[in-house]
């Protein structure tokens, strides 16, 4: 913990926003927990949330639309061993909370004495980002001008650019977790993001390029004190154009099993899909993951170390405290090729008799928390990226990706390249169209033949979906050579 004062400030701020307008104090919380902690209920929590979201979008040279949404509510959860009950209300008020506690605890056997509440104490939380409200950090006029500036940058980059779509989004979120064991935790989570998509056209062919980024900042990440767009923001425009132009030249992608070199940064989506989800505690407690029961076993080549790290400053996937009041942490998942542990929320940690890892996350008050990733990445190795390319006779060099997906039970995962090149005789020769790559999670990392010295994290655009819940995440990796990944092109 770097800054206890700030943690206290955040709690005070969250109380003012979430509890005080409804006249909810410690006495009322105790009353609610008194109702919840009856019979076989052995844990309960309340999750208060206020979030404000705005989005602006530009196309055809003008900002056509903007939106502003407010979401506010409280989730009430009761846990009895492996059972969980959730009820919620989008009105933060005592009567609604009392009704919700009744519904949430209906999972448990009734009767018995109520457990008395412990004394209230404040959670230890980190200070990884400032408690900012990005929505008010820039005038609406300046937001519009920023998008227009990005559009001009993209158009100026190349005359073949025919369409530019750019969007700007910000979230200001305040959460407060109150637990039956007396813990109170709060966080104020800013999040901003820019996305740019361009369509370039030449000789009757059209191709797209997409780039973007952001993090737990306010808009000053994109705009300087004089109201000018920063290089960070303009760089997204040029990057989207560059990708579209590369794709205009792309041939059919190859099909079949081959050596694949993945570029640094966002291709780390490989780790997220291939092993990340399979190492979430819930699937392993239930034995439904291909990684279940394999802690201590070799699941990757020597030299492969993968961590999930919620403690990086200002990153999209970072959390001062998770959605169950657990301080975020850096968890080593794989160390030098050996599986070390899983990512846990409170319930799964308790049932598996291990410590929680600060990975309990929920999309909102209306969803149950579960083990989720934060920022997942592989540590750097020793090889120069150029040396890695030079080592490949024939293969694919994939540097940008769209989404991915995994079947955690049989371990099969996919991720789709949006910018890729052929490697022939140790040289990058020509671009090929995007293609889906498919592999087997439990063995793909055993095929890692070389690890680059160029670890990079993604630019801050990742969103992970699990059981219908979306949360912001980060990924990263150095350049990697993987021998024997199936590339889903059309040229057999």
């Amino acid at each position: 913990m770097k800054d206890d004062t700030t943690a206290r400030d955040r709690l005070a701020l969250a109380r003012r926003t979430l509890l005080e307008p409804a006249n909810l104090g410690e006495r009322e919380l105790e009353q609610l927990f008194g109702r919840l902690m009856q019979g076989s209920v052995d844990y309960a929590d309340l999750y208060f949330q206020y979030s404000r979201h705005e989005a602006w979008s530009l196309e055809e040279g003008i900002v056509k639309s903007g939106s502003h949404n407010i979401e506010c509510g409280v989730g009430v959860r009761a846990v009895a061993a492996e059972k969980q009950g959730l009820a919620y209300s989008d009105e933060i008020a005592l009567p609604a909370l009392i009704e919700a506690t009744g519904a949430a605890r209906a999972i448990a056997r009734q009767g018995g004495k109520a457990t008395t509440a412990a004394a209230w104490r404040q959670a230890e939380t980190r200070s990884l980002y400032a408690p900012l409200d990005p929505v008010v950090s820039l005038t609406d006029d300046a937001k519009v001008r920023l998008l227009e500036r990005i559009e001009r940058e993209a158009r100026a980059a190349d005359p073949r650019v025919k369409q530019v779509m750019a969007s700007l989004a910000a979230v200001h979120e305040q959460v407060l977790v109150a637990r039956a064991d007396g813990l109170l935790a709060a966080d104020v989570r800013p999040l901003v993001r820019i996305n740019v998509t361009v369509i370039a056209e030449a000789n009757g062919r059209r191709e797209t390029g997409t780039a973007g980024g952001g993090g737990r900042y306010d808009y000053s990440y994109f705009v300087d004190a004089y109201g000018q767009a920063r290089e960070t923001a303009l760089g997204y425009a040029r990057e989207a154009v560059r990708q579209a132009l590369v794709n205009l030249e792309a041939d059919e992608a190859p099909a079949g099993s081959m050596t694949v070199v993945l570029g640094p940064g966002w291709p780390g989506i490989l780790l997220h899909e291939a092993i990340g989800h399979g190492l979430e505690g819930d699937f392993n407690r239930k034995g439904t993951s291909a990684f279940a029961g394999r802690v201590g076993e070799r699941v990757a080549a020597r030299g492969v170390t993968v961590v999930d790290d919620g403690t990086l400053n200002d990153r999209r996937g970072s959390l001062n405290v998770d959605d169950e009041g657990t301080t975020s942490q850096r968890t080593v998942l794989i160390e030098d090729g050996v599986l070390k542990g899983y990512m846990q929320d409170l319930m799964n940690a308790r049932l598996m008799k291990v410590a929680p890892t600060g990975n309990g996350r929920r999309e909102s008050y209306a969803h149950l928390p579960m083990p989720r990733m934060t920022n997942t990445y592989m540590l750097a190795g020793s090889h120069d990226p150029g040396e890695i390319i030079a080592s490949v006779d024939r293969g694919l060099y994939a540097v940008n990706f769209g989404g991915g997906q995994v079947d955690i039970t049989n371990g099969k995962f996919v991720f789709s390249a949006s910018e890729a090149y052929l490697i022939e005789n140790g040289k990058i020769t020509r671009p090929v169209k995007g293609a889906t790559l498919i592999g087997n999670g439990p063995d793909v990392l055993t095929r890692v033949a070389m690890i680059g010295n160029d670890l990079k994290l993604d630019s801050g655009v990742g969103t992970c979906g699990k059981e219908g819940q979306s949360v912001p995440v980060g990924v990263g990796q150095p350049t990697l050579r993987i021998d024997g990944l199936t590339v889903g092109g059309t040229r057999g």
Partner: protein, 452 residues
């Protein structure tokens, strides 16, 4: 276990008056705030989702959501805002937020409400609302029975992600400053099972679900459980395939995804941005000549039925594709104006888009294919909407002599959607009617399969 009633005291349908009042208030406030046009939509929904795993209740989630969304037009500028707070104060603040945004967005000559003469005036009962209040005990019993049927089918079904049941009801009121006010209420009940089969070759998970607006039309728990278990078992000992070109048969539950790629390509937003692989294809041969794909908005009790779209425009039954030729686009008022065409009543999407069958069931289609790949699962998002390039992860079965030979996995299938559409050989009569896109199994003449 207590027998708490599932639906809480509020009957969703009785909330109609409250939502209408809210929409009227939002429209009045918009006018007061200086908007020249406005539209508002308010919704309320509630329900329960419950999962039983290995015979024990695992999660019970009570859902209750509401929301109000407002779009204002100040001249040709627009702004939108939404809130979950239904107080008068919150409604005023939401309208104000939308108006503030509209001060900064650009003049857009195509912006605005739907033209008044397009708005729906007939509101037939489409049989969409069938509340079900079975009580928690019955829900648990059904979910447990469905999972038990799966677990008891075969000793290789050793683990489970559970049997789940859910019941939801909702109502939405949409109004605009042309004086239109429409209501749609509906219910949705579902029963599903996801289980894991295991043998020396490893673990395979699969699932099955039944979903309907009427609880009494759901498949029986035994049937859902047995189907889920059968689907997981048949995947055991899956192999990879060598890279090849061959015919591909999409089983009905995954075949509907091909219709979704068509809809994305002929949606107005993709067309005016010229971000589609089917630009300027109206009146062109897009599919094999036998293909008919039509919209059925007035199908009683169906998932996608509605008499008006998201901007109040009357929906129409129509052919989107006839004799393989594209007959129309999927437009709302805005994209229609951009393209110089009238709206097709598709703000918010299509309504029960259906591919007409020209063949028998899945077994018939396997025989027709002779040798090729039957795809039963697709993963990943490898579709490029601008070029039509298609590359997705797949699992399924290798078929020879018209019969399933063995399960396959860790392969991809790739092609280009315009080629795939023209390569439609047959559509089965095994139409999956659970969703808004309705297709039977689809046989495509040739795609690239990548594996070993």
């Amino acid at each position: 276990m207590s027998s708490t009633a599932v639906a809480t005291s509020t009957d969703v349908k009785s909330s109609r008056a409250q939502l209408e009042k809210l929409v009227r208030l939002a429209l009045d406030e918009s006018k007061t705030a200086g908007a020249t046009q406005a539209e508002a939509s308010a919704n309320l929904s509630q329900g329960i989702s419950l999962t039983v795993r290995l015979g024990e209740v695992e999660t019970v989630e009570h859902t209750r959501d509401k929301g109000l969304g407002v779009t204002v037009y100040v001249g040709r500028r627009s702004g939108s805002a939404s809130t979950t707070d239904f107080s008068d104060k919150a409604v005023r603040e939401t309208v104000r937020a939308a108006c503030t945004i509209a001060r900064f967005t650009a003049e857009d000559e195509c912006a605005g409400l739907a033209d008044p003469d397009r708005l729906a005036s007939q509101f037939p009962d489409l049989d969409l609302f069938h509340a079900w209040q079975p009580g928690m005990d019955m829900l648990i019993e059904r979910a447990r029975a469905a999972e038990a049927a799966a677990l008891s089918l075969d000793k290789r079904i050793g683990n489970s992600e559970g049997g789940s049941i859910s019941s939801h009801e909702g109502i939405e009121v949409y109004g605009n400053s042309h004086g239109f006010l429409g209501r749609q209420a509906g219910t949705r009940h579902s029963l599903s099972v996801s289980v894991i089969a295991q043998d020396n070759s490893g673990m395979q998970r699969d699932y099955w679900y039944s979903s309907d607006r009427r609880a009494d039309r759901l498949e029986s728990p035994e049937s859902v459980g047995r189907t889920a278990a059968g689907r997981a078992l048949r995947r055991l000992s899956a192999r990879k395939l060598g890279t090849r070109q061959c015919p591909v048969l999409f089983e009905a539950p995954v075949a509907a995804s091909l219709l979704s790629h068509l809809v994305s390509a002929v949606r107005g937003g993709s067309l005016y941005r010229r971000a589609s692989f089917l630009l300027d294809s109206l009146g062109q041969s897009v599919f094999a000549p036998w293909v008919r794909i039509h919209e059925q908005p007035y199908l009683p009790g169906a998932t996608g039925s509605a008499s008006f779209d998201a901007e109040g425009v009357a929906t129409k039954a129509r052919d989107l594709v006839r004799d393989g030729i594209l007959q129309g686009y999927v437009l709302d008022s805005y994209s229609g104006r951009k393209l110089g065409m009238p709206t097709t009543g598709n703000a918010g999407g299509v309504h029960n888009l259906t591919l007409e069958a020209n063949a028998g069931n899945l077994a018939d289609l396997c025989r027709q294919m002779g040798q090729g790949l039957l795809v039963t699962e697709l993963i990943g998002f490898g579709i490029n909407g601008v070029t039509g390039d298609y590359s997705r992860g797949a699992a399924g079965f290798w078929v020879e002599g018209g019969e399933i030979q063995y399960p396959v996995e860790e392969i991809t299938i790739a092609g280009n959607l315009p080629d795939m559409f023209r390569g439609f050989v047959a559509a089965g009569s095994d139409v999956d009617t659970r969703g808004n896109l309705r297709a039977g199994s689809i046989l495509i003449d040739r795609m690239t399969v990548a594996g070993e």
